[in-house]
């Protein structure tokens, strides 16, 4: 076998196989200079192929920015993004659920294409770093063969749908949200109504109101399970988000019946696509739209949109089998042993949680900074096969949860983890910090969030047994910049990277954010107290926790304490360590944790979190061009009928893009597209050329009517392709006229 495509054959399911082939074709077109930079960037982002620090071909080596002379020359994979520069692949793991076979493949890819490290993100994805773009199609094929897609993992699209890692086994849930999270994942993946967003869109599910795992309040769309009068439904919230200005989501529906969940999400998506900001990426998340129009008007817009939706059987089809996502334990239930070894007891205190199902437990494997190796990944897959079955979940705290562990097996499971050096205790405690990638690999990172997190972990792990339980319970989270991927706003003690100028040099700092609430789905966000030099952050943690322990009233929680004393008092606590020494006194303050280079911010690039704002219609027209190109190849290969059919398909694709641009719902089949094209673009004369009038539109209408492509010979196929070419030209011209008209209207 010479390629993964051949090797895997029909183990790659459609439509994933076709999508990867298309992406591979787009890579080739880009190399030939036939694809626009912005369109290709958004295309790869929507396939999960992301940029990484230094991919503009420049890197500060501590003495100044130096070029990285990649062999690709001027070839780019997006604006200011060098083709050969290593990138990141984000792999969507819906609600974090992973099988042993999937973990095996992920581990293989980490070894063969990355650096043997798998990284769990705060949104239950797996990320691999230092990937070359040309290796990504085969990686996607191998993932697709085990049921994983990277589609819409990045870019302006619906990102990974997250949910509590305890969904289905939790003692406090209203019901298992897994089948609903799965249904919305499948329904919105690639859905036409989610292709024209100005920014990303994140959805989260929670099984109950009180526990933290779902964190719905800082999501674009959140759903909390409720049962009302014996009927299942969700409290749906919208417009939450972190970032520089964290916003709590607003209630969109106090109770959305289960059968209305998917159409409601679709209606929200359509409102966001239609009215969301498209020019200024800084204000393009849905939270800004909700703020702008107000939640009541937003509700009205969504209700109006919902009214106009075409019914779709998928809205309720999944309700017929809500148990399709159930996991089946592979071992008999059992009790925990009463005489377990001390190491196990220490581990079990925070890492083992009883399930709703008696005799079963969920075990949390605590991952340092969310990282584990390929070798460990294979061993964990073996543990799943032996003890729990395919019941692993990535967690939002960057750990791995193994559900359905029999109490009778818990000690053996722990011992096997221990042999892998993976039985670190203290899950969900102060030593279990989460962090975004920060300056390690992120283009936007300002400070080394992983560096400071690693340092704090190291120091706190040494003394964790001596820590007061009230301190042990605290959660700490770090973000390398204000974009808040480390979710620091929802931590007891959070950090966000900032830079400060001291004596003509830059010094890495972190803003200290105190009193955020992780519980009740991240009900409230913390207060910014002030910036502290990065190298003083361990001291800051010591001062903050000491002040809390010495001044709390009784069993006062940290959040209650912060709320009572206010940030002014903590400013006084931190004041002595906020000013760094001069460079001459201590140059170590002028470099960041884990990075000996003199600190600077010259390496900060343009982030790709926002994606490129490319209207859906442009993707559609580009796809039509590709189809026409393939059809021309078919004609050259003597396949006249295939060529003519390809020409027709290209026209339909272009027509569909224009119809959708007019915000008309349209199905994928040609009859519906042509019917809508006739109604909305031909009869209205919007498509008409100023000189040729309806001539080019008639090429499509006629070919659709007489189906002449079905028995095309070389001559008629040639003519069909000529007509398709002219139709595509007219489609581009029509789109330009529509854009100009919209701009003129906006100017007025």
């Amino acid at each position: 076998m010479t390629s993964w495509k051949e090797q895997l054959g029909d183990r790659i399911p459609e439509p994933l196989a076709g999508e990867v082939d298309l992406f591979e074709g787009q890579i080739e077109l880009k190399k030939q200079g036939k694809l626009d930079d912005k369109i290709f960037a958004e295309t790869r982002l929507r396939r999960g192929v992301y940029g990484q620090r230094y991919d503009n071909g420049l890197r500060d080596d501590g003495t100044g920015q130096k070029p990285l002379d990649f062999p690709c020359g001027d070839l780019t994979k997006g604006p200011d993004t060098v083709w050969d520069a290593p990138g990141m692949m984000r792999i969507k793991i819906p609600f974090g659920k992973m099988t042993a076979d999937q973990l095996d493949v992920l581990s293989e890819l980490a070894e063969e294409n990355s650096d043997s490290i798998l990284h769990v993100t705060t949104r239950q994805d797996i990320q691999l770093h230092f990937i070359h773009i040309e290796e990504s199609p085969d990686m996607m094929r191998r993932l697709a063969a085990v049921g994983i897609t990277t589609r819409e993992a990045c870019g302006n699209s619906v990102r990974n749908v997250t949910a509590c890692e305890y969904a289905g086994v939790c003692t406090t849930q209203a019901f298992d949200v897994t089948p609903y999270a799965n249904a919305i994942t499948q329904y919105l993946l690639g859905h036409p109504d989610v292709q024209d967003f100005g920014r990303k869109f994140k959805i989260a599910f929670s099984g109950c109101e009180d526990n933290p795992c779902g964190l719905v309040t800082f999501h674009d769309l959140g759903a909390v399970a409720h049962v009302r009068d014996g009927k299942r439904g969700f409290r749906v919230v919208v417009g939450g988000g972190l970032g520089a200005v964290p916003v709590q989501a607003k209630v969109l529906a106090e109770f959305c019946p289960e059968e209305e969940l998917l159409p409601l999400a679709q209606a929200v998506s359509r409102v966001f696509a239609r009215l969301g900001e498209k020019q200024s990426r800084a204000r393009a998340r849905i939270k800004f739209l909700v703020q702008k129009v107000g939640i009541e008007e937003f509700k009205r817009l969504v209700a109006e949109e919902r009214e106009g939706l075409r019914p779709d059987e998928r809205w309720t089809a999944f309700l017929d089998d809500l148990h399709s996502t159930d996991e089946k334990p592979i071992r008999e239930p059992g009790a925990l042993p009463s005489d377990a070894p001390l190491g196990f007891q220490k581990w079990a205190k925070h890492n083992l949680k009883p399930q709703a199902q008696e005799g079963y437990y969920t075990a949390i494997v605590k991952l340092p900074l969310g990282d584990f190796t390929s070798t460990q990944g294979r061993a964990l897959a073996d543990l799943a096969r032996e003890f729990t079955g395919d019941a692993m979940r990535c967690t939002v705290e960057q750990n791995l949860a193994f559900r359905w562990l029999s109490g009778a097996d818990a000690v053996a499971f722990y011992q096997r983890l221990d042999a892998l050096h993976m039985a670190e205790p203290g899950a969900g405690t102060i030593t279990d910090m989460t962090s975004c990638p920060g300056t390690d690999t992120c283009k936007l990172g300002i400070s080394a969030s992983r560096g400071v997190t690693g340092e704090l972990r190291k120091r706190l792990t040494l003394v964790e047994d001596q820590l007061d339980p009230a301190v042990q319970r605290l959660r700490m989270k770090a973000s390398g910049c204000f974009n808040s991927c480390g979710q620091h706003h929802a931590a007891d003690i959070g950090f966000t990277g900032v830079s400060r100028q001291v004596g003509g040099r830059k010094v890495p700092h972190f803003n200290v954010v105190l009193g955020g609430q992780w519980t009740e789905n991240a009900k409230s966000y913390g207060l910014v107290v002030g910036a502290v030099p990065s190298k003083n952050i361990p001291k800051a943690v010591e001062l903050i926790t000491q002040h809390y322990l010495e001044n709390r009233e009784g069993d006062e929680s940290f959040q209650a304490f912060i709320a009572r004393v206010g940030k002014k008092e903590f400013r006084k606590v931190l004041a002595p360590i906020q000013k760094p020494p001069s460079y001459e006194e201590d140059p170590s303050y002028y470099s960041d944790w884990g990075d000996p280079r003199e600190y600077g911010i010259g390496d900060i690039g343009v982030g790709e979190c926002a994606g490129e704002i490319v209207p859906f219609v442009e993707f559609g027209l580009q796809e039509a061009e590709q189809q026409l190109h393939d059809a021309q190849d078919a004609l050259e290969a003597g396949q006249a009928a295939a060529a003519a059919k390809g020409g027709f398909t290209a026209m339909v694709t272009a027509a569909k893009a224009l119809v959708r641009h007019l915000e008309v719902q349209v199905k994928d089949d040609a009859d519906d597209v042509v019917s809508n094209f006739r109604t909305h673009l031909y009869d209205t004369e919007i498509f008409h050329d100023p000189f040729a009038k309806g001539k080019f539109a008639n090429y499509l209408l006629k070919m659709h009517g007489d189906k002449s492509f079905e028995d095309a010979n070389e001559e008629t196929a040639h003519r069909a392709l000529d007509e398709a070419q002219l139709f595509l030209e007219a489609a581009h011209a029509c789109y330009q006229r529509l854009t100009q008209a919209a701009s003129a209207a906006a100017a007025e």
Binding site: P71, D104, E112, D115, I117, P368, D371, G454, P596
Partner: protein
């Protein structure tokens, strides 16, 4: 057979390594372009991962790890792409680059590193073309024997290691005990 995705690991003599000391060294290698025919890009620090890849010098053609897998620290050379030569030359080159990196680390004054040449691990991170099975071993064994002969002499013994899910790997007992410098000089 494509001469890419080869890995060669040469073990350190000491079992305990202070990984954090590698970070400034690798940054310096980037700054000073210490490996002139390679584009060196960045340093990835995974010291927090037990038995992990340690500290990695990320390059375009190759990566250099101070790897601590199996609790056995060693320099792991990993070619990713872009070798201009035939299969045998590709294997020879991987051994040479691994040993050259060892030599450079031994010469770093702050590290106090010493590598042993009695044992080397060879791996191919390409399950499509080199699955970890006997047929792959048969295809690779002659070239590996020639490469080890160049660097270590003719008394090497080979053992294929790992299971079918793991990358193709051969543990090579070289039968040699020379220093890295002498080993390179011999070639």
């Amino acid at each position: 057979m494509e001469p890419t995705k080869f890995q060669v690991k040469v073990y350190t003599k000491t079992g305990e390594i202070e990984l954090e000391k590698l970070v400034p060294v690798f940054h310096q290698w980037i700054r000073e372009k210490k490996i002139p025919d390679e584009l060196l890009i960045d340093v990835a620090d995974y010291a927090h991962v037990p038995q992990g890849p340690g500290v990695v010098l990320i390059g375009h053609q190759s990566d250099y790890y101070l790897d601590v897998a199996d609790d056995r620290p060693g320099l792991l050379y990993s070619r990713k792409r872009g070798f201009d030569g035939d299969f045998q030359a590709g294997i020879d080159d991987a051994f040479r680059r691994a040993l050259l990196a060892c030599k450079m680390l031994e010469e770093e004054s702050g590290l106090d590193f010493e590598f042993e040449t009695s044992e080397v691990l060879f791996r191919v991170q390409d399950r499509l073309h080199a699955p970890n099975e006997e047929s792959t071993y048969e295809a690779y064994e002659p070239a590996l024997r020639r490469a080890t002969s160049i660097f270590f002499g003719d008394s090497a013994s080979f053992e294929r290691v790992g299971g079918p899910r793991e990358p193709f790997a051969v543990r090579i007992k070289t039968g040699a005990n020379a220093s890295v410098d002498e080993t390179l000089a011999r070639a």
